[in-house]
Amino acid sequence: MNWRTALAVCGRDLRDAARNRGALVPAVAVPVVLAVLLPLLIVYLPALTRIPLTTFNWVEIFYRHIPPGVRERLGGLGPEATEFYALAVYFFAPLFLLIPAAASTVAAADSFAGEKERRTLEALYYTPASDAELLWGKTLAALVPGLGAAWFAILAYTGVINAVGWTRYGLLPLPNLAWVLMAGLLLPAAAVFSVALTVVVSAKARTSRGAQQVAGVVVLPAVALLVMQSFGVVYLGWGLVLGLAAVFSGLAWLLLALAARTFRRENAVLYS
């Protein structure tokens, strides 16, 4: 395993993707929508329409499940500020776990299957780059848009939330420990896992679209987290973030080790 070769594979994929609107659009659009538009909409909608957020059933359910400890800490705030804080810091957090999966899916699904479709894979397989170097190079290349988009989204979101929080309630809710751990550990781990899974599917798939469909399942854990949290089953504090980061790191490591052991170009599907 030579990292220079893996980086060469990665570099070419990135250069190619940078000129491909199909791969760029989700990497830019997903964080903008999730991190900026959605929170703004939800925060300002009640103010504009004069309907309190708690009339929306799902927010109400979520709000009722805020642990007593957190509620106490927020005790001095009015109900509107508490609600804002809970939404901003907890409710939206799992959405950021969706970003790497969503923004990298196109690139990851394209990694091998796209080269099959465009018939460039055979020339690549004739090079002395090892199977592991190809796998790592392509995984790295597909990670870049996903992680980049997620980190960019977190920065933008922090800015938006602090701006709104400061002007309306005199609050600067972010970052807190859970968010730092999420950005630094959980997001990378989850991103490596979802991207590696999609790249492995892509190596087996005949078309990029086929790989995308199968790889769609990688968003499920994040969706599950969102749903569970809104029903009060879990709460995204730093403990849970650390635990999830450990789980995803383990899964990602297992997946990559398994893939490096089993992926052989000799057995790979060459063409669609």
Partner: protein
């Protein structure tokens, strides 16, 4: 022995010595394979093939679509593993995983589908490919320059490949196959789907790269002129098996079949026809037109005897020629699956492709 001097690539390529490339280039023939079997699912693409190529020779693989040429390149190029059989490429065993990587490092392949990155420029395509061979920096940059010069694409080096014509893409892909200065180059149908002008340019590049001392070239084609012009030896494949091999001239001689002649007369009547049929040394007569006869000759004196018989019968002979068999005749007979035994073959009929396709006639006398 690996003499790069005098080659056209030299300016750009010879400047850099490849680590590991020259090591061991003297061991044995370039390709030594026996009993290769390759299958895709239930499709048998190679059916026990033996191949041999000396260092420095240009070997032609001739055969219709589906004969197994590309599959052979994929196996020898260490992309697929054979289901049976043994092979050594550049002296290394293709079944040994470490050797496979080493072989890939020392060969260059122009796949049948050039497979270039359309969104990258010509120079980027070559450069990014070179990086995968462990080349880098100014060495690689110089080599890319030299290769772009060689294939005449220096002027469009910064253009995205998606804007290129088919001929330009093939030329760029040939340059890419040379980026690691390989000892052995596989060219899979380099001129298929090119217009004559582009094909001519590609021929020039192949001649140039084959002229470099020590470089072995394996050329897959169904273009007879190409094979006759470029290859020292050809192997004719059909349904994954060799049906004949040798130099183009050797094959023409060996598979010439019955000698043939064509005679044109001013007017043809029954008496003349009868006379020529019974002439000594004439084995068969076919009326090819109102004034034209095609003869199958049994011996040396056949043509003069036929002319004499015609004149004696009162016919006025305006033209009489011996028809030389060509590699094309040989190829059409062998690759299309007709009776492939040397000699005793009816006039080669049909065009390329006749008899190929649905017929399951595997084997039918094809193997000698």
């Amino acid at each position: 022995m690996y003499n790069k001097a005098g080659g056209c690539v030299r300016e750009g390529v010879a400047a850099a010595a490849d680590p590991g490339v020259s090591a061991g280039s003297a061991e044995g023939p370039a390709i030594e394979a026996s009993g290769l079997v390759g299958r895709y699912g239930s499709t048998v693409a190679l059916d026990g093939l033996d191949v041999h190529a000396e260092r420095g020779e240009v070997l032609g693989l001739l055969g219709h679509n589906g004969a197994g040429k590309t599959t052979l390149v994929r196996i020898l190029g260490c992309l697929l593993l054979p289901h049976a059989g043994e092979a050594r490429v550049l002296g290394r065993d293709i079944r040994d995983p470490a050797a496979r990587r080493e072989i890939r490092r020392r060969i260059g392949v122009l796949p049948q589908d050039p497979g270039l990155y359309d969104r990258l420029t010509a120079a980027e395509n070559l450069f990014s490919h070179g990086l995968l061979y462990g080349l880098s920096g100014p060495t690689l940059a110089r080599r890319v320059d030299g290769l772009l010069e060689l294939v005449g694409l220096q002027g469009v080096r910064r253009s995205q490949v998606g804007t290129f014509s088919g001929g330009m893409k093939k030329r760029l892909a040939i340059a890419r196959a040379l980026v690691n200065d390989p000892e052995l180059v596989f060219l899979d149908e380099p001129t298929t789907n090119l217009d004559p002008e582009a094909a001519h340019a590609v021929h020039g590049h192949i001649v140039a790269l084959a002229a470099q001392g020590g470089r072995t070239v394996v050329l897959c084609t169904h273009n007879l002129n190409e094979a006759e012009r470029l290859c020292r030896r050809v192997v004719i494949l059909r349904q994954g098996r060799e049906v004949a091999s040798g130099s183009p001239q050797e094959l023409e001689r060996r598979f010439r079949g019955a000698r043939r002649a064509e005679i044109t007369v001013r007017s043809l009547d029954e008496a003349a026809l009868k006379a020529v049929r019974s002439a000594p040394g004439v084995a068969g007569v076919e009326v090819a037109g109102p004034k034209c006869l095609r003869l199958e000759l049994a011996g040396e004196g056949g043509l003069p005897a036929a002319v004499a018989a015609l004149v004696a019968a009162g016919a006025e002979v305006t033209r009489a020629v011996d028809v030389q068999p060509t590699l094309e005749d040989v190829y059409l007979r062998l690759a299309s699956g007709g009776d492939a035994g040397p000699d005793g073959e009816p006039w080669p009929g049909g065009g390329p492709g006749s008899g190929w396709g649905g017929s399951a006639g595997r084997g039918g006398g094809g193997r000698r």
